[in-house]
Amino acid sequence: MKRLQFMSVRIVQGLLALVLIATANFMLVHSAPGDPVSIMAGEAGASDPQFVAQLRKQFGLDKSLPEQLGTYLTHVVQLDLGYSYRQQQPVVKLIMDRLPATLLLTGSAFVLSLIFGVGLGALASRHAGSWVDSVITVVALIFYATPLYWLAMMAVLVFTVQLDWLPAFGFFTVGADLHGFAKAWDIFQHLLLPSLTLALFYMAVYARMTRASMLEVAQMDFVKTARAKGVRPARIQRNHILRNALLPVVTLAGIQAGGMIGGAVLTETVFAWPGIGRLMFDALLQRDYNLLLGCFLFTAAMAVLFNLITDLVYTLVDPRIELS
């Protein structure tokens, strides 16, 4: 009952936040120099006032800014994200078309980074001070400090150009017309490099955090008590230390998950992965207002949602935390 009440309050709060976010986004996007019309006129290599006026009218840009904001918010509240004039399709359709590719990429990177990051961190803390710890710490530091973009480029150069093991770009082999298992295998091959490069950074972060957090918890009295009681070391490590050390990891995972939709811009660009991050980036460059705002709002909604989920997970990891 308490949980239900908590949820409904948080959902209402979240929705209010989203409206505020939508307004702020609108103002920010419109304050950037250049509008979609000047871009399209520029790309055409020729334009005259008639052409420009025609497009402005069509896009609704001939109205005053407050009027445009009013129209936009009225539509958003009705869950209508509008029409992308540049791509000549509804924004919702464009986002939904890209959603599977993005979820596949960021989802797999999320799972990979969480499993390996926490695993390696636990391993390092268990062998703190040994060579295992040193290797894990150094490797984590390297991946933490290396720019994602550079890592992706190197991966392409080595595994695609030099070794020719993995495909260079895209979501699947275009024109291959594969089905069933062959198709899944094909997508897996395309997924491998982008997903790994995206996962490495967070993997490093989780490893470092888990290690530090576990070492800290290991010094606490209840762990000493458990040891004194003669509990098996593996059990202490898993149930007493790891479980208590996971809270900061959960926080971070919540943030990573919340940013999952829009957070892969660089990876998606380098690997020509047809996801939402790229959709958003292109929309930004082309000042495709409706699409850009739609993407922003969608990612904001995801962040709000995952924030809520994170709070729920806290209570599962640590029963002492109460929802209020």
């Binding site: 950037a32 509008d35 006032p49 052409f51 000549q88 890209r98 150009v161 660009t269």
Partner: protein, 523 residues
């Protein structure tokens, strides 16, 4: 390469039955079948090139849509949807005969009614460049299903140059007639043309697929079954995709020049700078002539003399550019060859700068946000100008910001390059005539240059049909412009197309890849 070129020229002169200089029997020798993969960047908003005419849209749409004429590398009109044309002695009436038996992709016949609709209704309404190209047209009439007559208000020298697919594409009347808004017409998503390839699939963010038009009106072509245009946003990733063989063609401008120089040397890779003759891109620095100190001709000349164009050519363009002589690209009609290449002279520049009354104002320089090469160009320019004592502040922007600032004349110096579209009246005059000073476009006279003599000469060149008289006007204006230096011309750009050796004959007209890949084959 050499052998093919030799064959082309030899055979073309021997027989009249040619396509863009390639005799039909040679085309028949090409292998049928296969697929060509082309890099595409950025993803175009639409490939209906009657409504959207940016570079990537034309690259894809040029395979689907056709114009009345096409142009060989000397810019001589060649038959396409029109097979022949006659001009009245007074230069006011043009009659085109259309090719019989041409069908739209949905099976409807292509007739003179489509031509009248395309030009007089559709393009006049939504295509800015076509609209400005037909200002001289009084009326367009269908005399019979295969004959179209254009009447002009005044003689218009470049008239036969305005009919390529990329500037005047034919669109199907039976689909668009009566529509309230051509720009939002649902049929734009499933383009129907008369061209060699038909639209098959567009997976947004990934690729566009076109397939062979089996009913194409030219026998034997197209040769390949399928074309894929892959959207790869990152330049380094495009280079990697090309290098690993997943992409067959990197169109001009889609690779960074340091990559071009490197990849051109790889085995199995060919490079061509042909196929841009119609566009003949020319780069320059727009100088805001309205503001001091740029309003002084001495200052503009000093600025021009300070620039190390030869160094830029080598360092920034890796040799794929030629130093300009003035307002005309040397591939353009009526190019005046006796003007010297613009060279550097620091001493003279400093003297002129002193004479201009320059008081040490800091000038805002706007680089062109189109990749590394333009970034290097801006850096070299800043260095060159600082060397003679001009203070420069760089104002980096993205494409939208660049457009906005040029549209609003909010700059001191700005990089730009323009296509010349085969004729000075179509692609050059727009940047220098007073009548074209108007906010809202980065490609008209944004520098605000105004000179009655220049205006008169450009008008004379446009309204004259006698080539000798046109030449006289344009020769004069070229000399005058160099003296006035309204902009600092930089280079004739030779956009290199990289393609893998398995692709044969990808470029065979003055509009290159934009004219479609009908005559390309793979082996």
């Amino acid at each position: 390469m050499k052998r093919r070129k030799l064959l082309q020229t030899a055979a073309a002169s021997a027989t009249g039955l040619t396509l863009a200089g390639i005799p039909l029997h040679l085309l028949a020798a090409g292998t049928r079948g296969g697929t060509i993969n082309v890099a595409l960047q950025p993803e175009p908003p639409s490939i209906m090139i009657g409504t959207i005419s940016n570079g990537p849209a034309l690259l894809v749409g040029g395979n689907i849509y056709e114009g009345l004429l096409s142009y060989d590398e000397k810019l001589v009109p060649q038959p396409s949807l029109a097979t022949s044309w006659t001009v009245s002695p007074d230069g006011l009436t043009y009659v085109f005969k259309l090719k019989p038996g041409v069908k739209w992709h949905d099976g409807q016949p292509f007739t003179s009614a489509d031509v009248v609709f395309s030009i007089d209704v559709f393009l006049r309404k939504v295509h800015a460049r076509a609209r400005s190209n037909i200002v001289a047209v009084e009326s367009i009439k269908a005399l019979d299903p295969l004959t179209v007559e254009f009447r002009l208000k005044y003689p218009f020298g470049p008239f036969l140059g305005i009919f390529p697919a990329n500037g005047m594409p034919m669109v199907p009347r039976h689909i668009y007639e009566g529509a309230a808004d051509f720009l939002k017409h649902p049929a734009n998503a499933t383009p129907i043309g008369t061209g060699p390839f038909r639209f098959k699939e567009w997976s947004r963010g990934s690729f566009i697929q076109l397939v062979r038009n089996e009913q194409y009106h030219v026998p034997q072509v197209p040769l390949v079954d399928s074309l894929y245009f892959h959207v790869i946003p990152d330049a380094a990733a495009r280079a990697a995709a090309f290098e690993s063989g997943k992409i067959d063609i990197l169109p001009g401008g889609s690779a960074e020049y340091f990559d071009v120089a490197r990849m051109a040397k790889l085995p199995g890779v060919q490079l061509s700078t042909k196929g841009w003759e119609m566009f003949a891109p020319l780069s320059w620095i727009n100088i805001n002539n309205r503001k001091a100190p740029m309003d002084k001709v001495e200052f503009r000349q000093a600025l021009s003399l300070a620039l190390d164009r030869e160094g830029m050519r080598k360092v920034a363009w890796y040799g794929y550019a030629d130093v300009a002589t003035g307002a005309f690209n040397s591939h353009l009609k009526y190019f005046r060859a006796d003007l010297p290449k613009l060279a550097r002279d620091k001493d003279k520049a400093m003297k002129l700068l002193a004479a201009s009354g320059y008081k040490g104002e800091t000038l805002k320089l706007l680089p062109l946000p189109y990749g590394e090469t333009w970034q290097r160009m801006a850096e070299i320019t800043r260095l060159n100008l600082q060397e003679i004592g001009i203070k420069v502040e760089m104002v980096p922007t993205d494409v939208a910001g660049w457009n906005q600032r040029l549209n609003e004349w909010d700059f001191d110096l700005a990089f730009n390059f323009l296509y010349q579209h085969g004729d000075p009246a179509l692609g050059v005059a727009r940047n220098y005539t007073s009548s074209n000073i108007e906010k809202g476009s980065p490609f008209n006279n944004v520098e605000g240059f105004s000179n009655p003599q220049v205006d008169a000469l450009f008008e004379q060149g446009q309204k004259e049909t006698d080539p000798a008289k046109r030449q006289a006007a344009y020769y004069e204006v070229q000399k005058l412009l160099v003296e006035q230096m309204p902009v600092a011309w930089l280079h004739e750009l030779n956009f290199p197309t990289l393609f893998r050796a398995r692709v044969h004959n990808p470029i065979n007209s003055a509009t290159g890849l934009n004219d479609g890949l009908a005559r390309a084959w793979v082996a």
